[in-house]
């Protein structure tokens, strides 16, 4: 197990190293001179330009620049945003809770809807329900979520006015963030139930939109993994022992069928990021997805550079976590030392 894990970790660290090289090259590959990109399009005196070049180390050899980038990055300094003049790391972690809150809601939605549907579809194989579930999950898989979000807005916000169009909460509640998770902050600030419901209402549409792709994946995965397990001999034995259907499916089959599903859920972080980029743009959600898209349109290279380094390191850490859990949970892996 340790050998397998250490190999995985080395491979993932190499990938992370690659991402830092890509991030480092971005500003140097982009058309135009890096100093102009960093200072914005304003005209600057030749002296200031030279001073900036020296300060930021652009006059040093590339390899020195790269190690400087890594050295500063490890100390939590990933540069300063051109637009807001604030450190990229601060900006990132200020926006992360909004994305995480939305991501957690989206995953909860995907799991609570996807797993029961997947299980029922597998149990009632080849029934109308099974075909319906398979088709719906394929449709969810093919859904352009930016369109899906707008369609939901047209239906629920424009036509029947029951859900808000965008934002995290009604403007009448002016809540200073403490944790950044609004569902918690409303209580900490003592705003009470009406504010909580308002925040929850703002989460419903983006949550559904962001959860659509994970929902489709989880449903498909649960169904196929359940189908595999239901064919096993021990399930037949359990039936033969006279156990109730509920018990056989709910306890004997489900436990084993869940192993691959848990992996998929763990790896859903990547699709949460993709979802965040599109969903936050539709719903004007102040998270990291919209921040990244804006930074690309505004050519704010330090933000793009820092943003992808942090996101890649998070994805890689989650991958390591999933691999470790998988190695611990799965007895077959535990034996191989």
């Amino acid at each position: 197990m340790f050998r397998y894990l250490s190999q995985r970790i080395v491979v993932l660290l190499i990938a992370f190293f690659g991402i830092t090289i890509i991030a480092f090259s971005l500003i140097r590959l982009a058309p135009g001179d890096p100093i102009t990109l960093l200072l914005g399009e304003r005209s600057v005196s030749e002296e200031l330009r030279k001073e900036m070049t020296a300060n930021l180390g652009f006059d040093k050899p590339l390899i020195t620049q790269y190690f400087l980038f890594i050295y500063q990055g490890l100390q939590g300094d990933l540069g300063t945003s051109v637009i807001t003049k604030r450190p990229v790391v601060d900006e990132f972690f200020q926006r992360l809770p909004a994305t995480l809150e939305l991501g957690i809601i989206a995953l909860l939605f995907a799991i609570t809807v996807g797993m029961p549907f997947g299980i029922c579809a597998a149990v009632k194989r080849n029934s109308f329900f099974d075909y319906f579930t398979s088709f719906t999950s394929l449709a969810g898989y093919s859904m352009p979520i930016f369109w899906w979000g707008l369609v939901l807005i047209i239906i629920f916000s424009v036509h029947i006015h029951i859900l808000p169009v965008s934002g995290r909460m009604n403007l009448m509640y002016d809540i200073e963030p403490i944790t950044g998770f609004m569902l918690i902050d409303v209580w900490l600030r003592g705003e009470g139930m009406p504010a909580f419901i308002d925040v929850l209402k703002h989460l419903i549409l983006p949550g559904i939109v962001m959860g659509t792709l994970p929902l489709a994946v989880i449903t498909r995965m649960t169904r196929s993994s359940m189908l595999e397990i239901l064919k096993e001999d021990y399930i037949r034995t359990a039936h033969a022992k006279g156990l109730t259907n509920m018990r056989v499916i709910g306890i004997h089959a489900l436990r084993n069928a869940l192993i691959p599903v848990i992996t998929v859920i763990g790896l859903a972080f990547g699709s949460i990021i993709t979802g965040a980029i599109l969903t936050e743009t539709i719903f004007s959600w102040p998270g990291i997805g919209r921040w990244l898209v804006l930074s690309v349109t505004q050519r704010d290279y330090p933000v793009i550079q820092g943003g992808i380094v942090i996101i890649a390191s998070m994805i890689i850490m989650i991958n390591i976590l999933v691999d470790t859990t998988y190695a611990i949970v799965n007895p077959k892996m535990r034996k191989q030392t």
């Binding site: 993932l12 991402i19 394929l138 930016f146 980029i277 690309v296 992808i308």
Partner: protein, 290 residues
Amino acid sequence: MNDTTETSSLKEFSLQFIHHKGALLGFIIIAFFMLVALCANLLAPYASDTIFQNAFRLPPFSEYTHNYFILGTDDVGRDLLSRLIYGSRISLGIGFFTVVLSLSIGGILGLAAGYFGGSIDSLIMRINDIIMALPSVLFAIVIISVLGPSLANTIIAVSVAELPHFMRLMRAQVMAEKNKNYVIISRTMGASHLRQMFTTILPNCLAPIIVQSALGFSDAILCAAALGFLGLGAEPPIPEWGTMLSDARPFIESSPILVTLPGLCIFITVLAFNIFGDGLRDTFDPKLKR
């Protein structure tokens, strides 16, 4: 003799394929969109960038100065139907070029990785890991941030982001095939590496690659439309569905049709390719058949 077995297996394949209702449905929809894309200049009532003065956001079935607009016009007075029809060219074109690019580059890299193994394999797989460390839409955005938004750059960015699918699949296939007897025999008979890779092994790896190409089409169209929606894809006035959708967002309340139809086109095309790909996989792989 060889010919007859080949035709009969082809015949069997087509029969199975036709019996697979989903695959057939997907194929029909794809064929329809392809036909529309090929005959766009015959089908479209107007050119995609003809602007009709003062004919802004007309509702469907409206007439204006002797011009008839079946689906109405967009916010600058262009015929929506014509733009949707020409848009099929753009989206299918993006899908086609992306699949060709990532299939050929990813396929060759995967083939080399699987065939040679060792350090070549490690090197290629590490490239693969780097691309996979970021979600594909984000990776494509990163590439666009360097190259700048345009139709050609969309194709490049999406192709790179889609590379891992083909690389990994091809590598796995080649590794499964390369120690089989027929490969060992061709090696003992003195076949060169290139001959072994492309003539001996490659044809036996194609079935899953064809399936992946169909699925790659859908991924590419979806990813490119997402870039267009974010304003990082095709530049106006190119009638790309994702860009059209994003341009129409301010008018979501007054003219929802401008938002709904381009998105519906993306959805149906992507769904058709996914159904088609799934169906192909079922027909190619008898083990998975019900």
